[in-house]
């Protein structure tokens, strides 16, 4: 299927808005999206699969008497299907009840400019190129019999979106993503490690498959010979993976305006208060250079921006979409996210940027007399999202003794409260990287309950 061009996507959005108004909507907003992805996958140690997925569609919000309806379709080449989508949206709005907090769709504002979100080279990549990337990664993982390169691969995507609404908002943006990753398993005798994942994901062609392969293999070997650790409160070093898992269901939700407005945030009413250690400064930066969530506008056509969240431990702002902002008489911070054309916009962080410190990761570990280096967590999604209480498995993780890695730890749980943990951060490394929404370095946290033997 041929990719839709900028003009086609934008006029489809604009025309659908006009049609919805003509059919009786008071306000309307259309979002067109396309994703073209080529990927190559490893299946049990060898490249065994390649795929090409084309996904295009249109999502439409229609408002009648302050009641909102939404409809979507992926049938774009048929005028009747678009018209039926408009009618379904209107019928959904008519079936809904007026929302007294509904003010209006977003107004027109100048879009932001950003850097490093599109790379022509990625658009031109073919499956053959991705087979090469994947082979480099597999070769770099080496021949150590203890390391099994279980799954992984490489993928290249071109994404584009257009938005238009009845207040004159109209925009188009496109971008690229490239990734490669390898998940290994360490095996020795009857011992099997958990999956050890390493990957690169970038907006421009800036990946290092050789490093990914080497690291994934190194992790698997070092996770072997795992022993139980003692139950006690100790210092822990969290890598970005572990930190992302902990924060995704707790802190990141707690700063979203809808969670705050609905009394689901432990941070409600705490703007201006100390909520984290002095070392902690966080921005929600929708314009971060090369950021995975960097776009010129959000899912409602509001320009993305850089919003201070926590400055030196003090809570500064929450993040808003158009609806939650207008409810408080504020401006949207450009944080309306969409799952392509399939969903209505919802408040979501963009690039959640925890500012790095000055120390090398080795120095961070070097500060710890006795503790744990935690790579991944299991079960973070079962944290109490409202209170921040967590009780999770740390695997793989390594015992730190006198500033060095002593041995891999098995059967280890961490328990505590994320908001307390933020106050106990005592150092930040200088090795920031992007994982999901989080952009962060390794962090050192004091006094975390470790449950072992």
């Amino acid at each position: 299927m041929v990719a839709l061009k900028k003009e086609e996507m934008q006029s489809l959005a604009e025309d659908t808005v006009s049609l919805a108004l003509k059919k009786g909507a008071n306000e309307a907003e259309a979002f067109t999206y396309q994703g073209l992805t080529t990927s190559v996958s490893i299946e049990r140690g060898q490249i065994a699969k390649s795929s090409r997925v084309v996904d295009q569609g249109l999502g439409l919000r229609t408002i009648i008497n302050r009641a909102v309806g939404f409809s979507y379709t992926n049938i774009l080449d048929d005028k009747a299907a678009i018209e039926e989508t408009v009618l379904r949206g209107l019928s959904a709005a008519k079936a809904s009840k007026p929302d007294e907090n509904w003010h209006s769709l977003a107004e027109k504002k100048a879009f932001s400019s950003m850097e490093g979100t599109y790379d022509k080279k990625i658009v031109q990549l073919r499956a053959e190129d991705l087979v090469r990337v994947t082979s480099v990664m597999l070769d770099a993982a080496g021949k150590d019999k203890r390391v099994f390169p279980n799954e992984g691969g490489a993928g290249a995507s071109y994404l584009s979106a257009a938005v238009a609404n009845s207040h004159g908002v109209s925009g188009f943006d496109d971008g690229t993503v490239i990734e490669c990753g390898l998940a290994t398993i360490g095996r020795q005798g009857s011992e099997v490690t958990s999956e050890c994942l390493e990957f690169n994901i970038e907006r421009t062609y800036n990946i290092d498959p050789e490093w990914v392969g080497r690291e994934a293999a190194r992790l698997a070997v070092s996770a072997l010979n795992a022993k139980k650790v003692d139950t006690k409160s100790t210092s822990i070093v969290l890598t970005q993976f572990a930190l992302q898992q902990l924060l995704a269901y707790t802190l990141i939700n707690a700063v979203k305006a809808d969670f705050v407005q609905r009394n689901q945030s432990a941070l409600k009413g705490k703007v201006g208060e100390k909520v984290a250690s002095d070392m902690v400064t966080i921005y929600d930066d929708g314009l971060l250079k090369n950021g995975l969530h960097t776009w010129s506008f959000d899912g409602e056509g509001v320009p993305q921006q850089k919003t201070p969240i926590i400055a030196k431990g003090v809570l500064r702002n929450f993040v808003y979409d158009n609806y939650t902002a207008k409810k408080e008489g504020k401006e949207s911070t450009g944080n309306a996210a969409r799952a392509g054309y399939l969903s209505t916009p919802s408040v979501e962080a963009t690039n959640f940027h925890l500012m790095p410190g000055n120390e090398s990761p080795e120095d961070l570990v070097g500060e710890v007399k006795e503790g744990l280096l935690v790579y991944y967590l299991q079960g973070a999604h079962s944290s109490n999202p409202a209170s921040g209480e967590f009780s999770v498995v740390a695997t793989p993780a390594w015992k730190i003794k006198n500033g060095g890695i002593d041995h891999a730890a098995k059967g280890t749980m961490l328990a505590g409260n994320v908001f307390q943990l933020l106050k106990n951060i005592s150092a930040l490394a200088n090795n920031e990287r992007k994982i999901g929404q989080l952009v962060a370095p390794w962090v050192l946290v004091e006094n975390v309950k470790v449950i072992g033997k």
């Binding site: 299927m1 190559v40 049990r44 060898q46 490249i47 065994a48 699969k49 390649s50 795929s51 090409r52 997925v53 084309v54 996904d55 569609g57 919000r61 939404f70 409809s71 979507y72 379709t73 080449d77 039926e84 019928s91 959904a92 709005a93 079936a95 809904s96 009840k97 073919r126 087979v131 082979s135 799954e151 398993i185 099997v192 958990s194 999956e195 139950t231 609905r262 009394n263 689901q264 209505t344 299991q378 079960g379 999604h381 079962s382 944290s383 109490n384 999202p385 409202a386 209170s387 209480e389 009780s391 999770v392 498995v393 695997t395 059967g411 749980m413 328990a415 409260n417 309950k449 449950i451």
Partner: protein, 461 residues
């Protein structure tokens, strides 16, 4: 539709060198609702159609997905899929082979008593807002509630180069309810899911009032719960906690693709891994259950698959690809979320068979331990470690249920834990849920109450 699919499959096998080819075309209709507190967020209605094309060329897989059902788009896509497969085969060491499957021609028509596609959006809004009203009206300490509702209807048209052609209706209704309560510094959270493949009539049983009260009551009662003491303790698990343990901790290890990846079940077929009371099934044939269907997305009939019998590993869940490697019978476990993705091995309704104990008998020998009644999520790893979060738990003191505890979790090594399952109840309950393995699949899990001799309990006190 059939004529187009024949043309596309023939083209792959006759002109493009495919050893195997399949097309899965779909038309889907969805209605989704979200109610936050008493307000309905945008009611959502979707129409989707598209096709997934999967081929085997020179022993490697090629896959293409396209959002169209037009002949031209499908013939383009099958060429792309074959080209992708050829590219992937360039460094192949072990070519992929498929177990033989019977060719089937069938048409599966759903006859729900209440067809969700014929129920008005107004009625669905009425049902979900009745639910939120029940929750918010239960107690003033209940501060928020979110109700998500989804129904999917439509048809899948499947054809492969082995002569199978199946038209199969799809029907799912699902609802998730979550509430929070708050008093002083304590925040609690409670959730439930309801799912069915039979029809909208599921809400005649799982009424808004019944579900609402269950969720609200739990959130409020958790307010007075005390923090859980961490350590190793004997526990009694309720059917929903056991279910998520069977699914997450054991089930994934028995998905043959993950077994081959080196899960701790590799080389364990025929071996004793659990106590005598443990018998597990993965069953795709339970009528109306959330994980049930007649044919999987490789056109294989869904089976009732015995995984563990009296503590001994009896079978795994297979695709045509993995069945060859294990020389096993086909089980019909291959599912794809929709036409955008390829099928992978998924669980259906996974459960432990009940035994003969009463609930009191399970508790009676425990001096101090926990009764974990309801879960908040779970996760496991190939190395056999698992974690299950608990949203409703109680202390057990001298064989009796004691005070409620909050924010607990259990974890440990699956195989070690299975050997410590001492006794199982005579009750049985199946819950509906969703499982993420890159794609989302609807599934069921459950079993009876069980007593486990000891397990690591994570808590904050």
């Amino acid at each position: 539709m059939k004529d187009i699919l024949i043309k596309v499959v023939d083209m792959a096998s006759q002109k493009l060198g495919a050893e195997y080819a399949e097309v899965r075309a779909q038309r889907l209709f969805k209605t989704a609702l979200t109610v936050k507190e008493r307000d309905i967020e945008a009611a959502r209605q979707g129409i989707e159609s598209g096709a997934a094309l999967r081929v085997l060329v020179d022993g490697a897989w090629g896959f293409a997905s396209v959002g169209s059902l037009k002949a031209e788009a499908l013939t383009d896509a099958i060429s792309v899929a074959c080209k992708m497969a050829k590219t992937a085969s360039s460094s192949l060491k072990t070519p992929i082979k498929l177990a033989p499957a019977k060719s089937i021609e069938d048409k599966v028509i759903n006859k729900p008593r209440r067809d969700p596609s014929k129920i008005s959006v107004e009625d669905k809004i009425g049902m979900t807002t009745a639910l939120s009203n029940t929750i918010l009206g239960y107690d003033k300490r209940v501060k928020s509630c979110t109700v998500d509702y989804l129904d999917t209807t439509g048809t899948t048209y499947f054809m492969n180069s082995d002569g199978t052609y199946i038209e199969q209706d799809k029907l799912y209704v699902w609802e998730r309810v979550a509430a929070t309560a708050n008093e002083a510094d304590i925040f609690t959270f409670s959730r439930e899911e309801v799912g069915s493949t039979s029809g909208y009539e599921v809400f005649d049983v799982e009424t808004p009032e019944a579900i609402g009260e269950k969720v609200a009551k739990r959130a409020v009662e958790q307010l007075k719960a005390k923090p859980t003491r961490g350590g190793t303790f004997p526990v009694v698990l309720g059917p929903s906690v056991l279910g998520v343990f069977v699914h997450e901790a054991f089930g994934h290890l028995a998905e043959a693709d993950l077994t081959l990846s080196g899960s701790v079940l590799l080389n364990k077929l025929g071996k004793k891994i659990a106590s005598d009371v443990v018998t597990f099934y993965d069953d795709g044939t339970i009528e109306g259950a959330f994980g049930s269907y007649k044919y999987d997305d490789e056109g294989v009939p869904a089976q009732k698959t015995l995984l563990v019998k009296d503590g001994v590993v009896a079978g795994l869940m297979h695709s045509r690809e993995t069945a060859v490697k294990f020389n096993a019978e086909l089980t019909g476990n291959m599912r794809a979320e929709d036409f955008r993705v390829e099928p992978i091995i998924r669980m259906r309704n996974t459960y432990m068979q009940p035994r003969d104990r009463s609930f009191e008998e399970l508790l009676e020998k425990i001096k101090f331990g926990y009764y974990f009644k309801s879960f908040r999520g779970g996760q496991a790893n190939l190395d056999g470690t698992f974690q299950v979060g608990i949203q409703e738990g109680y202390e057990i003191l001298n064989g009796e249920i004691g005070e409620p505890v909050r924010d607990a979790s259990i974890s440990g090594n699956t195989l070690e834990t299975l050997l410590k399952v001492e006794a199982a109840g005579k009750d049985f309950e199946l819950s509906s849920g969703r499982c993420g393995k890159g794609q989302t699949a609807f599934e069921g899990d459950g079993g009876p109450h069980v007593r486990v001799k000891e397990v690591v309990v994570g808590g904050s006190a």
